[in-house]
Amino acid sequence: MVRKHRFVARVLSVALMAGIGVLQVCAQGTVPPSLQGSFLQPGYITSAGQTSDAAIVKVLANTRLKLGFGYDIAAKPQSIAGAKTLVLVLGASNKGLGAAGLSLEQDIERVKSVIAEAQKNGVRIISMHTGGTARRGEASNQVIELCVPVSDVVVVVEGGNNDGFFTDLCEKAGVPLVEVASISAAGNVLKSLMAQQ
């Protein structure tokens, strides 16, 4: 079962983090060695909440880092066929939802179905929050609470975790949290998470 595999990975990573003296949160920008290179190609990027931050992550991944990920801000379960890594970019955007013709509830249903598809196929999940305080709030919190517990790692750019919301959620769910200072640095973390091709 996928669940069991992930449980083992979590125990290992928690043990490792304890070993380097950080319990819930990795030292800023550092990726736990156990996770380095542990995510397989091909990857696929979508938003959770229609934030255009997803497009930023796409540009980072594909234009700058040449990772060649698939991308659809409003991906459906069938979109991720063949993918081995799913990148969820977290944040609810009214403008994004409006442009996509979706309500927040509809988008949450969409994200749930994509996550279910990923879990069914053993696709591992990276959740990223790059929008800072501007992408925090009640609506964004809903998608964050949905995605963090099912993630294999969470990457948050400075500001987004000012209130410790990610820290708490990750601690509860036993998911490693990597905090970085900038969107650029988030890109570097993404690269180090991916297996060398």
Partner: protein, 558 residues
């Protein structure tokens, strides 16, 4: 360090010292204030020799520089409009369109220049236009309109008036919070277009507030136009680039479409309101509905009650609904649709419409089927020393238009094709201009121009223009005060009365009691548009300019 608070407390203490002090204070204020009767969030700007009010300081500075170099209002308006295309690239530019109303005092000329975009000549009746990408793009009119206006009514060369815009595009300018937000909000479609991405994310990540944005390709494009005239854009090098990009990406615009484009000089629509002459932008845009609504309002004594009294807001909301219904039913491209212009502007017709209004209860809405409009529009008002006036509203439809830039040119294309209605006078046809609600307007008294005004704001443009006219002409507000007064919006197709939350509570309560459902927006919300206006005191020639705190406007005068 609460220095500011400390000062405010100290000041309040002093002011509160005696009732007499307060009365004396209010008295001084009323007597000394040049035109504005109430305190305003933004300061009203006054000047004697010329004034430009636009949505961005550098665009206002461009117009000011041209006025101070001896240009007339048209020269300055064209300079500011080209500059806006650089410094508000999300809202306007060479890939967009607009409409301008010109009043020339010395020649007693009043004219509207329609440089609205048009659909390509190919049959696109089976195409789903969408809101982004190459099929969303209509043939742009800005270059033709601005060049025509300058040639016929300006005094300077294209190179002279385009110089500030070229400078800004080449040297760059600081990205504002507003601009950064529009980049971030639209980054998903933007990221699909390499050429646009190069402009707004030159290092890959979207530019953020405080960074410098440059568009050297656009500078080069404008230099070519400054030298070679509009043919460069419609028949030459830029036309080639647009047509190539369209062909490669499934768009429909060809060199033939561009070569066929013409700006059209139209007779403005004219009306009167309580003795003032209203001159506004004719179909296919919204000035006709501004005048129709004012005609209806003339049947009520608005000035006998306070500006936001329950009755007055009710009357205006009912008038808006009827005006919008008629706009939807009758307004379209006059080359393709017979528009009953006289009928819509007829005072008797307005009277019969006004008679439908029940002062004691909300009437159910009437007609249906209006197209959606978008807030990526920008207005500009200019007055020169000679009393010449220009009111100009431009747009690329949505923010960042179709999210398509033409490679190598810096030109960002509109998404006007989304503005077709499924049927009626605004149904799609090849080579037709789609209806929009823009309504640049000039108000005169006894033939002397008095106000130039306009606003972006999609569906709210027409209602906001009506509110401004009523504020200025019925309630005698100052120009900045009028711009800042709480806005509201009713439409035949919408169940809610949209209001800014500053609307008095008792008015809101009464409106609910007679059947309205209220949709509340924040105190100052860009949903209701971001107006610019200049008022010239006919007695003294003094100019008073106002800019909307709902947007980063700037009024400069000298």
């Amino acid at each position: 360090m609460a220095l500011q608070r400390h000062e405010k407390v100290a000041r309040r203490k002093r002011v509160a010292m005696s009732l007499l002090a307060i009365l004396a204070f209010a008295f001084v204020f009323v007597v000394a204030a040049p035109l504005s009767a109430a305190d305003t969030v933004k300061a009203e700007v006054s000047a004697r020799n010329g004034m430009v009010a636009s949505a961005q300081p550098l665009a206002s500075a461009a117009g000011l520089e041209i006025l101070m170099a001896g240009g007339n209002a048209v020269d300055a308006a064209v300079a500011s409009a080209f500059a806006l295309g650089v410094v508000e690239p999300n809202a306007t530019g060479l890939g967009g369109e607009g409409m301008m109303v010109i009043y020339l005092a010395d020649k007693d000329v009043t004219v509207a220049i329609d440089y609205r975009s048009m659909s390509p000549l190919a049959d696109m009746s089976k195409v789903k236009f969408g809101s982004t990408g190459h099929v969303a793009v209509a043939v742009p009119g800005t270059v033709a309109g601005l060049c025509d206006a300058l040639q016929k009514y300006g005094t300077m060369s294209l190179a002279e008036v385009m110089a500030p815009a070229i400078r800004y595009a080449r040297n760059g300018f600081i990205v504002s919070e507003t601009l950064a937000q529009t980049i971030a909000d639209r980054f998903d479609p933007i990221s699909n277009n390499e050429a646009l991405l190069k402009i707004v994310a030159p290092e890959g990540l979207p530019l953020v507030a405080g960074q410098i944005i440059k568009n050297p390709d656009l500078a080069a494009t404008m230099e070519k136009i400054a030298e070679g005239g509009p043919d460069v854009f419609y028949r030459g090098e830029i036309a080639d680039a647009i047509a190539d990009d369209m062909a490669k990406n499934g768009g429909y615009i060809t060199k033939a479409d561009l070569a066929a484009y013409r700006a059209i000089e139209r007779e403005p629509v004219r009306g009167t309101y309580r003795g003032y002459e209203i001159v506004s932008a004719p179909p296919p845009v919204g000035g006709i509905s501004v005048i129709e609504m004012l005609n209806m309002l003339e049947n009520f004594d608005l000035a006998s009650e306070a500006p936001l009294s329950p009755r007055n807001v009710h009357i205006m909301a009912e008038v808006m609904k009827r005006g919008f219904a008629d706009n939807s039913a009758y307004v379209g491209d006059p080359a393709f649709t017979d528009i009953p212009v006289r009928g819509l502007l007829d005072k008797e017709y307005a009277k019969s419409r006004a008679a439908e209004i029940d002062l004691g209860k909300m009437s159910p809405s009437t007609k249906a089927g209006t197209p959606s409009e978008h807030p990526s529009t920008t207005h500009l008002s200019v007055v020169d020393r000679g009393g010449n006036m220009v009111a100009l509203t431009q747009t690329i439809s949505g923010f960042w238009g179709a999210c398509v830039a033409v490679p190598g040119t810096g030109v960002i294309l509109n998404n006007e094709m989304q503005n077709w209605s499924s049927r009626g006078p605004n149904a799609y046809a090849p080579g037709k201009r789609m209806r929009t609600t823009i309504a640049p307007t000039i108000i005169a008294k006894n033939g002397v121009p008095f106000v130039t005004m306009g606003t972006p704001g999609a569906g709210r443009i027409i209602s906001t223009m009506v509110i401004l006219a009523v504020d200025l002409l019925d309630y005698h507000m100052g120009v900045q005060e009028a711009i800042e007064s709480p806005r509201f919006y009713a439409r035949d197709t919408e169940k809610d009365l949209s209001i800014e939350s500053r609307m008095p509570a008792e008015t809101q309560a009464w409106l609910k009691s007679i059947g309205y459902s209220i949709k509340e927006y924040p105190d100052f919300d860009l949903f209701f548009g971001g107006a610019q206006a200049i008022l010239v005191d006919p007695d003294t020639g003094m100019m008073y300019g106002g800019a909307d705190p709902r947007r980063d406007g700037a009024v400069f005068g000298f």
